[in-house]
Structure formats: structure tokens, C-alpha cells
Point group: C2
Chain length 343, copies 2
DNA sequence: CCGCTAATTGTGAGCGTTAACAATCTGCAC
DNA sequence: GTGCAGATTGTTAACGCTCACAATTAGCGG
């Protein structure tokens, strides 16, 4: 128990073993492995056969040591069980694989700068070549921009004015579209249940909502604040339901909208007859809520893919490409929204 | 663009640099780093100071090369956006960090043996010391048991009779509890919407449901089959709603229950007055559905933690500990279930 | 058949760290 | 003061791979 030396003693074959079996030098084996030019087909075959025979696998540590390339990318993530981050992580992994990289994850324990520092440090200590940050909190972004000096960093989050490459959904535009949709249906104004104050997403969606309201000359009510959870949406909903004048609510994500739907139901307010509700994200369950939820679809998968592409580009190509990619969201109209009642 | 040699030329400090600055040998630096005994406090301080001054970080590749320990664990995952797998991954990462390991993920593209092989190979090529498999499909488990020879593997899934260490929720018991709950409420029998046929979870839950029905002498209806999605639950629900004799349904997961709730609503069948519904998983939204969903709570977080503990134990301790951990689930009664109507 | 270029293969030197062992320096009993 | 165990530090040799360059072989025109 003092150390782990009790492991399998099966000596893995190394390059020298392959060389011996194939009757060539280790360098030739290396050439075959890296598909270098100038290897006679016959030689290549012998080497390949030896590799198969010995079930040889190149030692990644040795390779990394000399090439100074670990082939490892790091992902810092928070809220890994949330639909968006989970899907983004998934797509990043897939894209990384296609680009020939491995992905190591570090999740945030809590939402403070130290935690982000720690996660990034862990990743660096592991030798990652680059980092993608999925934590979309204001704080996280700030913390990250501090340590970006050593390793290239790309963040997936809302657009933010910075020198750092960013891939983001255009939250403002999405929120504006949702709000306009409700306004177009004849609602006098639209309530808003925002996300946590320290998330950039929250800020941008709030902004898009407010901007659209102002542009339309509609009154701008005091927004409510939730924490993305259905529970918080429910609680906001209970309070909102007390005001009989409310006819439209835009929630900053689908889970909160789901909770709000529940609160409306309990309060006897029909959706969409009495109150229209719009969410954000388009979680797969959205279409099967009662009623099916109108929402703003985010291309999480594309987000991840683009972020990875950006990182890889910076890694083995253009040095300073501080690109800022904005992915447009899409309004998905379902049955939770309808015309303002004339009652 | 031919290669990535255009990266930052900032020569990172290596151990020799630290040694020189501290005025000691590189071995002494190594000792300080590994907190080996017999280092005079004064010397340690000098070394520590030099490390800080140079912002020195040990090269993980070099260390791995000589120690033959990569400190890397692999996780094979499928359905990364599903609540259970996502949460499990999250808890595995946290546990791994506490145990001093890094976590690298490999997601499955599709559900065939080759895909599992590929994922595991990728992980091995990367030098992981052990693998946790979250893919709970029958096929995946079989595929895994094939390659477990080289690297220790722990799988998180339903209990399955094998030589492989497994951490699982007792799906059978959970399903039985759900079924019994409905029976106890006076329902004559219980319908079941199962998960995909090739998932172990599906099989065990089906089994638990059927067993309880038989034990109670209740008729065993033909089960329906879904794919975990709300959509599939909705479709099953539409069909189930056609049969007026149905008063209770047990769905193999919460998403399908959610879809089924929608179908019942559309068909004018009230829940729980006309039909009682039970899910499985306890997703966070469950309590805010209409009506709040009675379900079986799984300890996904504990699952991940236990799986990792098992793997680490095998890694640096007991060699052959083919443990099989069974985590008991818990019935959470909410308002989607009620007594059978006397109508 | 010779000489030259290009294709093919081999050799030696690290990459940055830890392990094993040697060397030196303590402190203390005799 | 001397000697010895133990504490402290240094030296050398891997770990398994790629890079740079040397060596060998093959192909071909004159």
C-alpha cells in the first residue's frame, strides 16, 4: 500500500523489441510509426507485422517528452450536469478526436477565481497544449484571462470584449427574438426571469430582453432572478402569478420555464391562454412539456466544434488569431405562447 | 502550417535550472518535489524559492516516462448529455482529483463493439492507468470485458455477473419498489415503458417490475419500449391512453415519464386521478412537472465516487479486488401517483 | 564499369525526470 | 580525539522515443 509497485509485471514491448523482431533499427520502426517517407514497402510490412505480433503501443510519455507535444487538450467545465455544458463538452471531445487530440477535463468545485485557477493549473501540470473553458461566468472569464499567458485558451461563452478567442451564441439576439415574438403577439410587455447575476449568459439575455422592450416602447418591468434550476423558476412563477396583469414571461432557460409552468398551473393561470411563456436552450424535453415550450435554440454542438477548431488553429497554425465567433440562435415556436387575451 | 513548431519559444524552466538557482543538485530538487525525507529545512526553502522564482513546473511526460505512472484515468462514456451519465462523469472527475489523478474522456460515437474498442484504445494509447466505463449497454459491457486484460477496468452500470468490477444501482430493487408502490395504492396492475432493449438498465428494471407483479399475483401486461427520450415516452403514452382500463404506468426513466405525462394530458386522462405515473432517476426537474413526478432516485454521484474508489484501490493496492458494489435506490413519492379510482 | 545523386537505413545524442548507489557531513558514545 | 550510524547531498544511469546526421545501398547516365 505504500506504493503502487504491485502492478502487472507484464513488460510491455518497446520500440527496440519491435526493431529486433523486424530485423531493423529502432529508427526505422519510428519512421513507420510516423509514416515518414523513404521506407521500402517490404521493410514497412516487416515492421508492421512485428508491431502486431508484439501488440506494441508507442509510449506516449516518451513521445511527448521529446516532441514537446502532449496531444492533450484540457476542458474546464462548470455545471457539467446542465444540458448546455454537457452537450458542449460532448461535441468538443468529438471534434478533438477528429483533430487527433485527447481531452482531459477539470470541473470547477465552486465559482470563485481560485477554483478556476486550480482547474487550469491542474490541466497545465498535466501538460495540456491548450484549454477550452466552458464556464460562462463573468468571474471565470476574468480569472482565465489572467493565466492565459502560458497556454492558449479559448472560451465558450457569451461574447465579451477581450483579447481572448471566444465562441459564443448570440444571447442578446436570441433574447431579443424571444421578446419580439411575445410583443408581436400583442402582449403589452414581457416579464423576465433572469439567470444568476454572475453569469454572462444572464447579462446578455437580460440585455436583449430589455433592449427589445425599449425599442418597442413597452414598459420594462423589474426582472426576476433565478439560478437556472426548475425550482427557482417555480418560485419566481409563484410570485409572478400573483400579478393578474402579467400575460407574458421570458425565462432565461428552459428549466426555469419548466418550473414557472408548474407555478402557473398551480395558480390556475392557463398557458398560453392567460400567460405566454418562452424559454431558452431548447432542451430535448421542451417539446413534451405541458404545454410544449416555445424557446430559443442554441447550437451547443456547433459551439463546441467551433471552439475546438479555434484552439487547434491557434495550436498548430496561425499564432495570433484572436477570433470571436458568434453563433446565431433560433426561435422555436411551440404552444406555450399565444396571442394576448382580449379579456 | 506543416507542423506546429511556430509555438511560443519561451523555454520553460526545467529541474536543472532550479537546481542551479538553488545551488543544489537536481536530485535534491526532485526530493523536495516529492517530499522525500532527509532534506534539511534550509535546503528545502532554497529550492522552493527557486521553484517559485522560475515558475517551475515538473514535466509530466518525463515523470511518467520514468515512473511508469501517468496519473491519468480514462472514462468511456455514452450519452453524455443524459442526466445520469453526465452526473456520474462529474462525480468521477471530482473523486479522481481528490485521489491525485487526472481524467481523460472518450465518448462513444455509436453503440457498437468497435466503437467501444476504439474509445478504450484511444485511452490506452494515451497511457491511462485505468478505465471507468459509463456506457451501460449490454454490448458495451461485453466489448469491454474483451479488452480489460491490459488495463484495469471498472464499469458503472447494472449488476452483471462477470469477473469485472462493477458499481451499480440496484435497478431491480428500484423497479420493484416503484411497482409495489403502485400496487399498494390499489392498482390492479401496472404498465411499463421500458428503455432500449440493449441497455442493461432496461433489462433489470423490466425484471424488477415483472417480478413484483408476479409476486403480487397481478397480471403482467406487455411492456412498451422507448429509447429514454421524452419523445418515445410521449408516443408510448398515446398508445397507452387509448386503453381506458390502464390506471398505473411505471416508466424506466423520468424523461419518458415526462413525455407520457404530456400524452395523458392531451388524451384528457388526469394524473393522478385517472392514471398514476412513476419515473426513474429523479432528475432535478421532476419535482416541478405537472404533476410533480413520483420516481426512483439513483445516487449517480455516489456511483461515480464508488467506481473511482474501486479503480484506485485496484491501481495502487489490492491487486485482484473484483468487487461488485450495489447502491440501493430510493423511492421518492410525489403527486403523480395516487390511489386507484373506484370509478 | 565508374561516379554521382537519391533513396533507404543506422547511430548517437538528448528530452526531463526518478531510482540506485556513492559520497560527504553530522552528532554522539567511547 | 576517534569511529560509526544516520542524515544529507551528489553522481550516474536509465525510461522510450525522435531528431540530426552518418552510413550504406540503389539507380542511372556516360
Amino acid at each position: 500500500m505504500t506504493d503502487g509497485s504491485a502492478r502487472q509485471a507484464v513488460r510491455h514491448a518497446v520500440m527496440a523489441d519491435v526493431a529486433k523482431v523486424a530485423g531493423v533499427s529502432h529508427q526505422t520502426v519510428s519512421r513507420v510509426l510516423n509514416s515518414a517517407p523513404h521506407v521500402r514497402p517490404g521493410t514497412r510490412d516487416k515492421v508492421l507485422a512485428a508491431i502486431r505480433e508484439l501488440d506494441y503501443r508507442p509510449n506516449p510519455a516518451a513521445r511527448a517528452l521529446v516532441t514537446r507535444r502532449s496531444q492533450l487538450l484540457g476542458v474546464v467545465s462548470f455545471g457539467g450536469t446542465l444540458y448546455g455544458p454537457a452537450l458542449t463538452l460532448d461535441s468538443i471531445e468529438q471534434a478533438a478526436r477528429d483533430a487527433g487530440y485527447f481531452v482531459s477535463v477539470a470541473t470547477l468545485r465552486s465559482l470563485d477565481a481560485r477554483s478556476v485557477q486550480d482547474a487550469a493549473d491542474r490541466l497545465r501540470d498535466q501538460g495540456v497544449e491548450g484549454i477550452v473553458v466552458i464556464a460562462p461566468q463573468l468571474m471565470a472569464v476574468r480569472a482565465i484571462s489572467t493565466l492565459s499567458s502560458t497556454v492558449p485558451v479559448v472560451s465558450v461563452c457569451s461574447a465579451v470584449r477581450s483579447r481572448m478567442p471566444v465562441v459564443a451564441v448570440d444571447n442578446r439576439a436570441g433574447a431579443a427574438a424571444a421578446t419580439r415574438h411575445l410583443l408581436d403577439l400583442g402582449h403589452r410587455t414581457v416579464q423576465h426571469v433572469a439567470g444568476p447575476r454572475d453569469w454572462l449568459e444572464s447579462a446578455f439575455r437580460l440585455d436583449g430582453w430589455r433592449g427589445e422592450l425599449e425599442a418597442a416602447g413597452a414598459p420594462v418591468p423589474q426582472p426576476w432572478t433565478g439560478d437556472w434550476s426548475a425550482r427557482s423558476g417555480y418560485e419566481a412563477g409563484r410570485r409572478i402569478a400573483e400579478d393578474p396583469r402579467v400575460t407574458a414571461v421570458f425565462c432565461a432557460n428552459d428549466q426555469m420555464a419548466l418550473g414557472l409552468l408548474r407555478a402557473m398551473h398551480e395558480a390556475g393561470r392557463r398557458v398560453p391562454e392567460d400567460v405566454s411563456v418562452v424559454g431558452f436552450d431548447d432542451i430535448p424535453e421542451g417539446a413534451y412539456l405541458t404545454p410544449p415550450l416555445t424557446t430559443v435554440r442554441q447550437g451547443f454542438a456547433e459551439l463546441g466544434r467551433r471552439a475546438l477548431a479555434l484552439l487547434v488553429a491557434e495550436l498548430d497554425g496561425a499564432p495570433g488569431t484572436p477570433a470571436q465567433v458568434l453563433v446565431p440562435p433560433e426561435l422555436v415556436v411551440r404552444r406555450s405562447t399565444g396571442p394576448a387575451s382580449r379579456s
